[in-house]
Amino acid sequence: MWVSLAAIIVVASAIGIGIMLAISWFPAQGSNVAPKIDTFWNVLIVVSVPIFVSVVTMMLFSIWRWRQRPGEEGLDGPPIHGSTKLEVIWTIIPTIIIAALSTYAAILLLDIQAAPAKGTRVVNVNGIQFAWNFETKTDAGPVKSNLLYLPVNEPVTFDIRSKDVIHAFWVPAFRMQVDAVPGITTSYSLTPTKVGSFDIVCAELCGLGHAYMRSTVTVLPPARYKAVMAGLAHASAAVGGSK
């Protein structure tokens, strides 16, 4: 019985893990943080599936094996009140798993929230109801725009603010998110690693237009980025840097 149960659990877990890992969960990996988060997710799946499979297998097995059969209506089960050994095992093993996952997560967190190097480009992100405004200082002058442009493979720090209500600045492809909070400046840093256009999504309910508070970040090769920003700096100056 125990061997068959173990076999079922191992096989079902393997199938479960296989399916779960095969699913394409995440959008494109657009930043240096993305592969780390995606790997962490895979680890979480590999740990979680066997736990779920074990619980459900033991439960379904019990239901199948010890279902009340005709004639057993008046019967009771054995008066088993507990087992200290079992209690210790199923307290210690989860503790180890939790401790291991938390340690991994803490190290990963310290890595991704590490202070950026001096001289990292700063982009000021302003959330208002219901749009994003970006302001970058460039050699050609400040650039203000509703669309975000970034050079690939160069670190960037986002300083995020809001004047009205709480918004959240989230770029799914970058895997980083933080609220835009009136009264404080929040920030995070990362390095975009993929050329392309990615969604910017507001992820904190901010009122009527919350669903539409979206923008786009376009990550460009450095030369192209310089050219685009020069053009935008010219335009920003022309309109007096409004918005």
């Binding site: 699913i23 969960w25 988060i37 997710w41 979480l44 979680s48 779920f52 619980v55 459900v56 033991m58 439960m59 019990s62 239901i63 010890w66 279902r67 009340q68 059969r69 008046g74 019967l75 009771d76 089960g77 054995p78 008066p79 088993i80 009140h81 507990g82 087992s83 079992l86 209690e87 199923w90 989860p94 939790i98 996952l101 938390s102 803490a106 967190l109 991704i112 209500v165 709480i166 959240a168 989230w170 895997r175 980083m176 998110q177 933080v178 909070v181 009264g183 404080i184 929040t186 969604d199 999504v201 992820a203 904190e204 309910l205 009122g207 009527l208 919350h210 669903a211 539409y212 979206r214």
Partner: protein, 630 residues
Amino acid sequence: MASKIRQAGWYRALAFTILGIAVCIGLSTGLRAAFGLNPVYDGTAVLQISLLMVPIFFLGGIGCFDYWLRWASGRKVVDDHADHGAKSWKDYFKVNTDHKVIGIQYICVSFFFMFVGGLMAMLVRAELAAPGRQFVDPNTYNGLFSVHATLLIFLFVIPVFAGIANYVLPLMIGAPDMAFPRLNALSFWMLPLAGVMMLLSFLAPGGSFAAGWTAYAPLSVDAPIGQAFFTIAVQFAGASSIATALNFLVTIITMRAPGMTFFRMPLLVWANFSTSLLVVIATPFIAASQFMVLLDRALGFNFFNPAGGGDVLMYQHVFWFYSHPAVYIMMLPGFGIISEVLATRARKPVFGYRMMAFSLLAIVLLGFTVWAHHMFVSGMPNWVRIPMMATTAIIAIPTGIKIFSWVATLWRGVLKMDTPMLWATGFIAMFTLGGISGVMLAMVPLDIHVSDTYFIVAHIHYVLFGGSLFTIFAGIYFWFPKMTGRMFNEKLGKIHFWLTFVFFNLTFAPMHLIGVQGMPRRVSDYAEQFATWNMIISISSFILGLSSLIFLYNMVASWRSGPKASSNPWNSLTIEWQVSSPPPIFNFDTIPSVVGGPYEYGVPGAVHAIVGDPAKDLVPAGAGATEGHS
């Protein structure tokens, strides 16, 4: 007519309500005139004051304060139990001091709001079935999901557990009623009042409250007057909850039958004891958060206004300091219900009873240390994130102990897989999934990506629907015969379970995926790429919603004309099953005497309690109590 208004009841409640509105108008216009404010009549000001004061007039009119006011004024009071017990259906619509009547009142009102809130969820899913606008504008949509969540949390899950416990707990501990029956009645009556207030918000100028059930400042401070309906209704629901919890604590501590030590209490009692501790300590914090919002809104205070020296994040800290324990308030009673159902239907003691009790207390304690896991991306200082991640992860351990112990309870039992048992075992599977997604969310690096996305919506519904609601159904089916004296239709019960189980998973499982892929929550519209999954989810949710009608039909039809139930159809050992179905008005002729543990299945001749005539009513555990198979 005059006598109808002088007696406690609906006529007087109506009259007092009208009087209350008049008083509020008078107060508002009088004060505004005295301060030289123009215009003297301001609808918003009147509404604001009315929301606070008119409910109290209503409660007075319906009769919640009569006895106390009479006593306080020095007049003679008569303790004749005239308002105790239900002799006709009309008694269920009055102030009644019988815990059994109050329990049923709670359960029926809660389910009413469940259906209303559930209907709102259907409208939400109808709007989300395809990208673009289908039926409602964004403001209405935001209102729908806000009222949906608020009703289901404060007007369904929290009170229905209070109602089930109200009914069952005094019987289970061998008590004639709760410690404070009149307070119990007041607790109940604050509830429909809160629910009506929330629904009335749809009529307010600017629409219903629409800042989510979390009502973050500054959005809730800036919102139109509909928000005030939430701010104040939550106070009444909270007061109801606190008073009930106080009642449970005193009842459990002081009114257990002789011989019922703490470690001979059934786990439902332990669960409600733990929950009540959570409620009395935590609920004042949501009251505080809403009072601060109210003061900012109505009187121009600056709690959450940075320009005035306020702190936006403080709202979240105060709010979540309650609202995290709130999720345990919404789950722990369910844990107790599952222990009762599993032990009785598996004919085995609950495995590891002491650890089950201690794990409840551990969850209570730890539950106060994790609130900031709702704020990982809020902009609070980074250093708080790691300790909060640690404490959140640690809670998985007592919770895991419970899940493993329940499975071990099934092991080698004699399992009758009827409706309550299906819900209980379904719960174990679904809650394990919800708990796993919870541990994933505890891990900050992942949470940074999936915060405020459909991954969160998936998690909360796995633990609240697959968790709490499954236990509620288990409990309702399990104690239905005791409460109504009739048996429900078993076949319909099974159909209800299977439809719910399948379509619940089809509705909420895909949400994990679209959340990680990039769909935020609380949005009336979304990017094209999520269209297919949203359509699948919406259609599944409609069938899920329809399946609840089977439950409704079963309950109503069985209550009216189901086959009569015996006192102990499940052959359970706990005390509530040793009296008639439904129980006598005052529960017991003589106080029962507890002589053993509550789960002594499998021990021939074991008795938990001696109830009534010892010669007649002794119910030994299982006739032929050794296991019939190895």
